[in-house]
């Protein structure tokens, strides 16, 4: 019997924390301020700082992550997953387990000549789902966790999850995605 597998799409928004880049050790500190996820690209769950405690935001995401057979997102293997893992470790929680991943940036078949940002790919393939644009002022509000900033972040992260889901579907139909691979923390 074939088995239905559970695919979880997700995205995070982050802010810089810790030392300012430029010091001797040049650390690039950052932490998640919002995590959103979806099982179908339509209904999106979101947890974010000020609305949720950091530990609750992380735990709720991990609960979904642990029941997924595969996770998908844009640049997740080199950005989102390691950052979530770092946040889990900072809060003394269990790290993420190894997971099959479909990364719509890193699993694109070899190409050159244009940007593989989610925004650009969505535009190129004329997806209906829009990316919520964040200019510098909005980012400053978002990272300072002002009420306006929190609202901007929520729209941004939720829209990104929906758009990435649609993007993955489009890329699969075109045959532009390589085989999924396991991410190991």
């Amino acid at each position: 019997m074939s088995k239905r597998i559970r695919i979880l799409g997700f995205d995070i928004e982050t802010r810089k924390v810790g030392f300012h880049i430029g010091g001797k050790f040049n650390p690039d500190g950052c932490e998640p301020i919002a995590i959103a996820w979806s099982w179908n690209g339509k209904q999106v769950f979101c947890r974010q700082l000020t609305v949720d405690m950091p530990e609750d935001m992380l735990r709720d995401f991990v609960a979904a992550y642990d029941t997924a057979d595969m996770v998908t997102g844009h640049y997740i293997r080199k950005f989102d997953l390691p950052i979530i893992n770092g946040a889990l470790m900072e809060h003394g929680l269990d790290p993420l387990s190894a997971k099959m991943t479909c990364d719509t940036k890193n699993d694109l078949i070899t190409k050159a000549g244009w940007s593989s940002s989610q925004e650009n790919l969505a535009e190129m393939y004329e997806l209906l789902e829009d990316k919520y644009h964040m200019n510098d002022t909005r980012w400053r509000e978002a990272t300072r966790l002002t009420p306006n900033g929190v609202a901007h972040t929520r729209i941004r992260v939720v829209n990104d999850v929906k758009q990435q889901w649609a993007l993955r579907k489009a890329l699969l139909e075109l045959g532009y995605l390589a085989s999924p691979t396991v991410w190991r923390p």
Partner: protein
């Protein structure tokens, strides 16, 4: 205690060994050719199915391959 083979026995053993090796090689080459033909297509189908949320069972796999 070891028993030495006669020249005839040794020649026969060598000939049988050569035939056995030749037949195995023939089938092994044929198997490699079939695998090289089948596996990429099968892997493509398996991955496509997985990406669309279905993990194919070994029984389905045998059906796909007609074995």
């Amino acid at each position: 205690m070891t028993t030495r083979r006669t020249d005839f026995e040794q020649a026969r053993a060598n000939a049988l060994k050569t035939v056995r090796a030749a037949v195995r090689l023939k089938h092994s080459i044929a198997a490699d050719e079939e695998l090289n033909r089948l596996l990429p297509e099968f892997e493509k189908q398996f991955t496509k199915s997985f990406q669309n949320g279905v993990l194919q069972s070994p029984v389905d796999i045998k059906k796909v391959l007609g074995v």
